[in-house]
Amino acid sequence: MSRLTANARVIRALGMRSVRQTFRRPQLIAPIIVFPTLLLAIQTGGAGASIALPGFPEVQGFLQFMLAGAMMQAMMLAGNSGGIALAVDIEMGFTDRLFTAPIPRFAIVLGRLAGTAVLGCFAAIWFLAIGLIFGAEIESGAAGALLAIALIAAAAMAVGGIGAAIALRTGRASVVQGLFPLVLVILFVSSAFFPQELMIEPAKTIAAYNPLSFVAEGIREPIIAGIDATTTLAAVAAILAIVALGLALSAGALRHRLRVG
């Protein structure tokens, strides 16, 4: 068995454990599915009339517009939950088991992120299904749905990398859990929940530079209009930037953990 194959097996095994762990621990699955579903229901029911505002993108209905926001929220919270789970592993010594195995240490982080990506996929499919059940159309069809799922999975991995870095650096689940409100703030100053054109300053400017806005638009576009190469590439670039940041922070945090034990 080549080293590449062996590493892939390890990443898959750790990813599967991560997914099982999430489904077996209600406090990890609730933020990914339950909270965004509730928020989607509340916003769709309470702010549906906003689609009539001048400058609001042309959509079939507010639910169709909001699907990307719900998926973004689930994705961010999946990343955060992955960080919490890793910190719990550190607290209970489980990572020591992984660190004493003859595997590259980056495989431990990648395994966790693979699990986060699967959860991102699951969340994306969940919200697309909800949208379809309640009458929202996906304008670009199956290809658009697959694109949205792929972008959410990749973005979940990217955000999870930052969560993992914080978990590795601090080793404390409470610290990662404490980022929960910050995650929502960062998301609210993006175009995930509201069109950027209708925001007021300074949120409008912040949203214009917030990488999450590019990801949100990349997911929304195939749902409300059609696949657009420029929007998709911008989303991919934003995800890659977050991935680079997450990997750099994780690598530094891994080195730190080895130094301090």
Binding site: M1, V10, M92, F94, R97, A101, P102, G261
Partner: protein, 322 residues
Amino acid sequence: MAAIAAQGLERAFGKLKAVQGIDLAIEEGEIYGFLGPNGAGKTTTVRMLTTLLLPTGGSATVAGHDVVAAARAVRASIGVALQEAALDPLMTGRELIRLQATLQGIPGAEGRHRADSLLERVDLAAAADRRVGTYSGGMQRRLDLAAALVHEPPVLFLDEPTTGLDPISRRTIWDEVRGLNDTGTTVFLTTQYLEEADRLADRVAIIDSGRIVAEGTPESLKAEIGNPHIALQLADGSVAEAEEVCRAVGPLLPPVDGRTVLVEVAHGAADIPRVVRALDEAGIAVESLELVQPTLDDVFVATTGHHLLEDEDEDGRGQADR
């Protein structure tokens, strides 16, 4: 080739020197006991030898591989069961062993086979599909040990493997460790149980304040301390007469109560008939008699100036190195 070797191994945390120049030479097939009180540096040493922590000075090899330069080769050669069983309470026992097999690069079918046979070996086959969180402390320790053995490592690190276990579970682990050692596995065992070190270890190192202060077989260490003594409990309280008789056999030790006489003997059990005869001739009735060998705690006191067991709990456990 030494299974584990260290020269001047050091670890500092800021200004605190947790380990201060440890030398080790542990032969293949040995059980090496590492005994010390809370904060002595036992766990820090284990973490350096298992590549979990970088040394700040000195060098060490495990199974011939440098713990810094060839960390991955070290990790392929060792099994590790750390102080607190590092188990995920949400996984089942079978899932954990299979994951461990994957981490060790064991192919799927072989990994499944080994997992099943190991679970059988540590008597967890019936509980294999239950979540680990439902296991008792003894079951968790046995599972942790099984996970450490999945790749049949030549060197096994056990960091306080029986802490908190009931006597029956403790003996089960001891039997397992002895069985492993019989197959040639080198075992590095930290413990806070004197009895554990005494019974299991071929050699014992006593660590205090980050330094090894004594090393040798349990017998040789105890022999350096002095002779055994006979503890006589008298039936009728004739302590003064008994002391007079025993003084002819050997020097008396300070009494512990008004009914017991302690007399040091040069030849151990061989001196018992002589003592019994002398007391019988003097018409002194003895309620009980015990030959007391020097303990590793006596060795500890002699080398460090304080007891290992100062904070001993009901299980005979001294201070722990956390």
